[in-house]
Every structure is written in C-alpha cells, then in structure tokens.
C-alpha cells in the first residue's frame, strides 16, 4: 500500500475512482452506452463504405462555370460543384484572384492577401453604402446593449475588460478614415484657393 499522501502521478496506479460504474449508471442518463468503441460512429476514423453515402455517380457531373472561378492551385481543377455567391469583382477581386493564382494555401501570403482583399471589399462597400444606402454603421445590433442588459450581463465578468477594446477595434478605423478624409479635403481646398 502506497502512502495516500503521495499523489497518483508519482505512483503506479490511480487512486480508486470516486464513483463505481454502477453509481454512475444510476446517476447519469445513458452512462456507458457507447463504452464499446464499435458503437461510436466515427470509429475507426477511415471506414470505406461508398455504397452508404447516397451518391449514384463515380464522379459528379460538372456544374456549369458561368464565369471563371478562382481556385486553390493545390487543386487539379475547379471542383465539379462550387458556390456561386459573391463572385470576384473590383479591386478586392483583383487582390483575391492574385492570392489564389500566385500562392498555395501553404503560403502565409495567400491568406494575408485574402484578408487585405476582405478589408478593401468592406471599405469599398461602406463607401458605396453612403451613396446608395442604407449607410453602413461601425457596428450593428448595438440597441441590444439597452434592451438585453448590456451592463447587467457583463457585471463581474473577467472578459468585460477585453470588451472595452471592442470600440477601439471597431470604431478606430472609422475614426482614422474620417480624420484622413477631413485632412485630405482641407488640404485640397487650401490648394485650390492658392
């Protein structure tokens, strides 16, 4: 018998479990129902059973490609089925297409360019929204701060101190954008007056 003051990690066996299987079975609905790995649907990881999937083709018929579809250069071709939502367009489309054509998924540049494309897309859309409406706002759904207990919900939460960063992260680029626009416009006006 080992010294009970020595924790399990330092001796051969774990201490006796707190509850027996019978106690657990009585307390927990379904305890042990999947004890046998054979009852677990993802065991083993690879299970060859193509006849069970519902597919009635060896290779799927190809979806018509109405406009050139960007693809990862790690693919041999555009997959037979693909999403057609929000096709590439504008400057963000140029950046994204370059990211796909030039860099594999293994290159950080691929992902960073896609994020740059995302920000260009977002700011282009924000600017267009001011012309065509409804105008974008820095963050949506903020009314719920009043209707769903914004302060009450955060009371005592450690992540509340991180939430104070949100206005900086969200509104910061808008403030910077407004400052740049204001400064640029003022300089332009001054230049025109000379």
């Amino acid at each position: 018998m080992t010294d009970p003051d020595v924790p399990s990690a330092y001796v051969r066996d774990k201490r006796a479990p707190r509850e027996t299987p019978e106690q657990l079975r009585a307390r927990i609905p379904g305890w042990g129902a999947d004890l046998d790995p054979a009852d677990r649907p993802s065991h083993p990881k690879l299970r060859y059973a193509p006849e069970t999937t519902g597919a009635h083709w060896d290779f799927p018929e190809r979806q018509p490609e109405k406009e050139p579809r960007e693809r990862s250069i790690e693919h041999a071709f555009v997959t037979p089925v693909f999403g057609t939502a929000q096709p590439l367009r504008g400057l963000s489309g140029v950046v994204r297409r370059f990211a796909y054509r030039r860099f594999s998924e293994g290159r950080l540049a691929h992902w960073l360019l896609l994020i740059v494309g995302d920000r260009i897309d977002a700011w282009g859309s924000h600017l267009r929204s001011f012309a065509s409406g409804p105008p974008d706002v820095p963050a949506s759904g903020l009314r719920s701060e009043l209707t769903r207990g914004g302060l009450r919900s955060r009371r005592g939460r450690s992540d509340a101190r991180h939430h104070v960063l949100d206005p900086v992260v969200v509104a910061g680029p808008w403030v910077a954008g407004a400052a740049v626009t204001w400064t640029g416009a003022r300089r332009l006006v001054r230049a025109l007056r000379r």
């Binding site: 990690a9 065991h43 999937t53 089925v81 919900s153």
Partner: protein, 382 residues
C-alpha cells in the same frame, strides 16, 4: 427573399436577395424553417476568416422544407422536411468514400485543406448559408435527411452541427472507462461533449468556463463538475490538483479561435487578427492533459498560424485528434441517444430571434448578453 447579409466585421443586416436557383442536377432548394447561429459564425462576424465577402449570407445550422429539386435527385421530394448537415459533400471522392464527409474534395475549389460548408466564407467554397428564407443545397441525394416524426425541430437544427460536433469531440478523445475528461468551454458544443463523455464511460467530467449561466447549465444539463477559471490564479495548476497531479486523461477543446483567459493571446488572435485565432484553450488543453493523454480539438481555428505550444505536446507524448465533424456519420447513433434522452440538445437553447432581428441576435450572442448560450433564428417570424 429575406436573408442575413454580412457588411464587414461586426456588421450584419437583413436584405432582400434573389431566391437561389438550381445550379447542378443534384441540387435542391430548401425553404428554411429554423436556423441557428453557431459560435463559429462569430469568427466570420468578427472578420477572422479570410475571404469573407461583403454580401455573404451566413448560416450552416438549418432545417427546412424541400421546395425544388434538380433533375438527378432521387432520394428527396418536394415537400420533404429535412435536416441538412453543415458539411457540403459529394459522397463519392476518396475522402467521402471513407467517411470523412467534412473533408470532401469535390465541393470547395477555394481550398484543399477544408471541405464545403454552408455560409462560411469562400474559404469553404463560397456557398450562401441558411440564415435566410431559402438556401441552395448541393448533393441533395447525399447530405439532407428527412426529419424523423418524433424529433423536435429544435433538436433537429442543433443536430446539424453543434450537437453533432460535441458528440464527435468526445469520440476524438478515445475515452476509456473511468477516464477523467476535461471539457474546455461550456458553450453548445462543450455541453454536448460533456454529456457524450459520460456515454463513452468517463469516470469524471469537468467543464471549464467563466460564465456563471453556462457553468450552471453544465451542472444541470450535463451532470458535470465545473471550474470557473476566473476563480483560480492558474487554471492549469487547478486541473493538476483536481487530477491528483496526473493531468486529465482527455481534454476536449470546445472553444476555438475566440478564447479568452489570456489578454495577450486574446488581443493578438481575436482583436487584432494576427493569428488564426486565440489558442488559449488549446494551450490549456496541452498543459492540462496528462502525459500520454489525448487532446481532442473541435473548436474552430482559422488557417493563419497560431502560437500553439507544440513543444509541450511533443514532450508529453500527446495524441492530438481533430477535424471538422462529419455530421451525417453521427446521426443514426445520435438519433437513438436523443430519442432515449441521453443527449438533450434543445435544453441549451436560450434565445429565439426573428430573422429581421439578426443584427441584435449576433450582437447578443457575440457579447454574451442576457445569458445567451444558443440563439435560434426564425426566418418567417413576424
């Protein structure tokens, strides 16, 4: 139709969009009757996922009624009530033939590392999602399944991702009888992972979070012991104490990219997007599991590198297991568990928002206001 639309980080609204059309002979168009917002939708909402385009409609957890089918569809008929796995998959590629439906190679031209997912950016294929009145469902003979008559709609919608992912996460842990299992995160995935760990014979299940309402739900719904990490100077040390200094046999990361608990990682990963997410939970998992143990990762991370403590994982001889969930593979067994009351997905639903209030729904879920654990979206509610 009315659809949720992404307008940039932290900005969503409802807009009028065209009803989707059949684009492939095995497509179906489904009228959405119930959808949900997933924790991983928040990664898109916060601008963490590369190639998330303005105008994209999110939503990979939805059920509905078949409105239209393509010419080659054999297994579904107009009017069928269906639940649709979040994975889009062909059923015939090398990966699908072996049950890796979440890794299908025939549906996502934008990336080889991830399969197709509804409403989850162009990195997962560029498909609009189900937080809308209608959605295009590719490979209708492969993915969707008629909802059993006995099944509650709220259970059905949660089985399309969150519940299936929790169940899958427990399986990835390779739990043996009597194991001590730690679940990081008491969100929807973590709650079902905790319930599922018992089904696989766990001797103890401990759930770690810091939100009181979620920890209470872990106790009441999943019969788990709970640890509020805010109450400890170092949660990893507490995990060691709780496990007689062995560490847990299995740790399940049910948090993913938006983890809190470490200011530097959180700011770098979540606020400034300098990583593919904040790997706080994953690092706690690596530290908190015993040597030779298993870490199961079902929390989602982006494709950009993250500061993960890989050296400790090596030195401890860990098994790291992870994947996006092949949902349909889980269903037959899960249906039995739900019917028998062993798994209770709808017990975690706290909020139901009309689609028209989608901006409020995202903000409430993101900021975890009003005790929100799982919000559903009702496309046709007034």
């Amino acid at each position: 139709m009315r659809a949720m639309v992404y307008r940039g980080p932290y900005k969503v609204r409802v807009e009028e969009k065209d009803v989707p059309a059949i684009e492939h002979p095995n497509d179906a168009i489904v009228r959405v009757t119930l959808a949900a917002i997933c924790g991983s939708d928040l990664h898109l909402y916060h601008g963490l996922m590369p190639d998330t385009r303005i105008g994209h409609t999110f939503g990979h957890e939805f059920i509905g009624v078949v409105e239209q089918v393509g010419s080659s569809v054999q297994n579904l008929q107009v009017g069928d009530r269906v639940m649709v796995p979040f994975n889009i998959f062909c059923g015939s590629c090398w990966f699908c033939a072996r049950g890796l439906y979440s890794n299908c190679h025939n549906v996502n031209p934008n990336a080889t590392a991830v399969g197709g997912i509804y409403g989850y950016s162009h990195t997962t294929g560029g498909y609009d999602g189900g937080q809308a009145q209608y959605v295009r469902v590719p490979f209708a003979d492969v993915g969707p399944v008629p909802i059993p008559d006995w099944m509650h709609d709220e259970d059905a919608v949660l089985l399309t991702d969150a519940a299936a992912t929790g169940y899958f996460g427990a399986q990835l842990g390779d739990i043996a009888e009597g194991d001590t299992v730690v679940v990081l995160g008491a969100g929807p995935v973590g709650l079902i992972a905790a319930q599922s760990s018992w089904l696989m014979g766990a001797g103890r299940v401990l759930v770690v979070d810091h939100l009181p309402e979620r920890l209470e739900k872990a106790r009441s719904m999943a019969h788990a012991e709970t640890l509020d990490y805010d109450e400890y100077d170092d949660i990893v040390v507490e995990l060691k104490k709780q496990t007689d200094f062995l560490g847990a046999d299995v740790v399940i990361d049910a948090v993913g990219a938006e983890a809190d608990g470490n200011l530097l990682q959180h700011v770098a990963g979540t606020k400034l997007k300098l990583q593919g997410g904040s790997p706080v939970a994953l690092n706690w998992a690596i530290d908190g599991v015993r040597k030779g143990g298993t870490v199961s990762v079902v929390g989602a991370y982006g494709p950009i590198p993250s500061a993960v403590k890989f050296g400790d994982a090596l030195n401890k001889g860990l098994t790291l297991r992870m994947n996006q969930t092949p949902v349909k593979r889980q269903w037959p067994r899960m249906f039995e568990h739900v019917r028998n009351g062993h798994l209770t997905p709808r017990a975690m639903v706290t909020h139901r928002f009309p689609l028209e209030h989608i901006a409020e729904a995202y903000h409430v879920f993101s900021a975890k206001l009003d005790g929100c654990i799982k919000p559903l979206v009702l496309p046709d509610a007034a």
